[in-house]
């Protein structure tokens, strides 16, 4: 545990106010946390959501969620070619977001991040959108959270770039600069950053069987990640998390190698 931190902070109940709560008080938060469908419903991804909330609570960030007013951004529909459904979702969400006069959004998922940031403006939704690794970078840079080593000191970590954070939006440094604070050994896979290799879930593949081939994409990628002999495969996307976790299991390495989101690394390092 980080000795500089009062022990009372740990295992506190999560404080997760909604936009409606803020509005009732006549206030507005500094940032909206867009949880996303995975973060809301997927058992593994919910842990990432909680890690993000713990960090936000710890750093005293005035944030809110939409809660039951949040709905799918429409990303998987759009990538699958259902533009009509995407725009219906977008218009509905924009109505809600603009109703609350939202200015800044942090997402727990690069797909939500990309869609909100790039595809909503033309439909009337203009917000400053950041991925949670960018917010973490900002909190660390401004001293709102501090990390000195922690659980991952000396551990070997390799980061898998999510396509929709990396190539799609050229964000490569934020997750890496956050993890530097862990005093861990960061190793790169053979294909990383702009040359990063997809986990296999994007473009709505998450929701269907793969086409016939000779290998699953996530097996190929997990093999490459495991070749770096990591203690942790770090990810920044709930879909990548699922794919890489399955891949690690495929090679029977789940005891030795953990697949963790960057937010979970930070929360664990701070023993939150």
């Amino acid at each position: 545990m980080d000795s500089t931190q009062p022990s009372s902070i740990t295992n506190q109940p999560l404080s997760v106010p909604t936009m409606a709560d803020y509005m009732a008080k006549g206030e507005s938060p500094e940032i909206l946390f867009w949880v996303g469908c995975s973060g809301s419903f997927d058992d593994r991804a919910k842990k990432i959501t909680k890690a993000i909330v713990k960090i936000l609570n710890h750093a005293n960030v005035k944030f809110a969620v939409l809660g039951t007013e949040e709905s799918c951004t429409g990303d998987p529909a759009k990538r699958a070619g259902n533009e009509f459904l995407f725009q219906m979702q977008a218009m509905n969400n924009i109505t809600v977001l603009n109703g609350y006069e939202v200015k800044k959004i942090v997402t727990g998922c690069p797909h939500c991040f990309n869609t909100l940031k790039n595809e909503y403006p033309a439909l009337g939704g203009n917000y400053e959108v950041v991925h949670h690794t960018q917010l973490l970078q900002d909190l660390l840079n401004t001293g709102r959270i501090k990390i000195e080593g922690g659980d991952f000191k000396g551990k070997k970590i390799t980061f898998h770039d999510p396509c929709y954070l990396g190539r799609a939006n050229d964000v490569y440094e934020a997750p890496r600069s956050v993890m530097i604070n862990l005093d861990a050994e960061l190793v790169e896979m053979k294909r990383s950053k702009a040359n990063g290799f997809c986990c296999g879930a994007g473009g709505a593949q998450m929701f269907k069987e793969a086409e016939k081939g000779n290998k699953e994409v996530n097996i190929e990628r997990s093999e490459e990640a495991l070749a770096t002999n990591p203690d942790v495969i770090a990810v920044g996307c709930p879909f990548c998390n699922t794919m890489m976790t399955d891949g690690v299991k495929h090679f029977n390495k789940e005891q030795q190698v953990k697949v963790l989101d960057v937010a979970e690394l930070i929360a664990q390092a701070k023993d939150l």
Partner: protein, 456 residues
Amino acid sequence: MDQHPLRQTPVSKTLMVSSIIFIALLLAGGGLFLFNANKIRRNILLGKDIDRKDNFSERMKTMILVAFGQKKMFTRPVPALLHLFLYVAFVITQIELIEIVIDGIAGTHRVFRPSLGGFYTFMVSLIEVLSVLAFIGTIFFLARRNLLKVPRLVHNDLTGWPKLDANYILLGEITLICFIFMMNGADEVLYARGASHAENLGDGSLGLAISSHIGPMLFGGMSDTGLHIVERIGWWGHIMMVFGFLNYLVLSKHLHILLAFPNTFYSNLKPKGEFTNMASVTNEVKAIFDPSFTPPPADPNVPMRFGAKDVTDLTWKQLLDAYTCTECGRCTSSCPANTTGKLLSPRKIMMSTRDRLEEVGKNMDANKGEFKDDGKALLGDYITPEELWACTSCNACVQECPVNIDPLSIIVEMRRYMVMEQSAAPTELNGMFTNIENNGAPWQFAQADRLNWKNE
């Protein structure tokens, strides 16, 4: 020294005949090229309009870095260096081509030499050095395709014509370089002997970096007449190869040497993750949300269709992409679907688009400029749904392309057609759509349960 036999014939008559032949070749070669190039332009403009005229300075910058500066090539340094040899040799040789054209028309010989002097020797020497490097590059390229069998260059996208096409151009390159050294090498010996057919013989050897050495070595033992014949074969061979190359370009995959420039200029400057928002859909959705909304009148000339079934449903930029593709396969070798054995190959998407567009163009040529329905389409006859559904939209192909081609945008347009016009999405995806429609999530969870995680 003996008077050269060619000089015994009346100079003006020889020159006139060769000049007339040259001018005829120039007009025929140039004219045929322009005729075919114009057809390609027409085919590209069959595409739908898209605005890529904004942000001129950013576009120039992209073109200078990516096309002129070959920025993206250098992620793979070995082929990048070899390609650079060919590219720089090709660009610099164009300067010498100006002299060749003037000599050909006016019947002069090395017309720039007297006025440029030492600079002339430097420039032609530079071209010679680059030609040797290009020669080495070409040999390596042939070896990579035919001996080393680099996977992306022997991929099954390239069976038949594409494979021959690639080898023809490399063999042509070697022939061209041989002609250059026949021309310069023989001329070096002639100049040294004071026997060149140039009017201004002057000061002995040309002093070219490579030819002044290999010329005497290869041709030193030949008679003046023999040398003149070799020199002329080199000169005419060179220019014939140039005309031939120009006209081969428009029939082959090599248009990238010209189209890389406009294609990078008109690049997508937005983040790669941003897919276009379809305006036609926006109008319908707005009408649902706001009954008083009146959509702008549709263009009566554009058939109303969501997504792309055929090449004419794509934008002119996507069609320009198809003509610009030189089939290098960097996209396919980085594609997660292709490298795990799926049918999808982004390179093949581009090749199919071009093949279909060529077919549409030929159809129009045969029917007085009007396209007659041939019962075929890009979707189904050239690209199958299985290919399109294997894409993870990861943008690796877009990232890799050295000339900023965007295969992903074509895949998405065709998915849009399959989903919105044919309702032909894979069953699981239809389930996902229904879930989003009903629950606001791609899985079967109620929107009312969205915050349950807080208390779990």
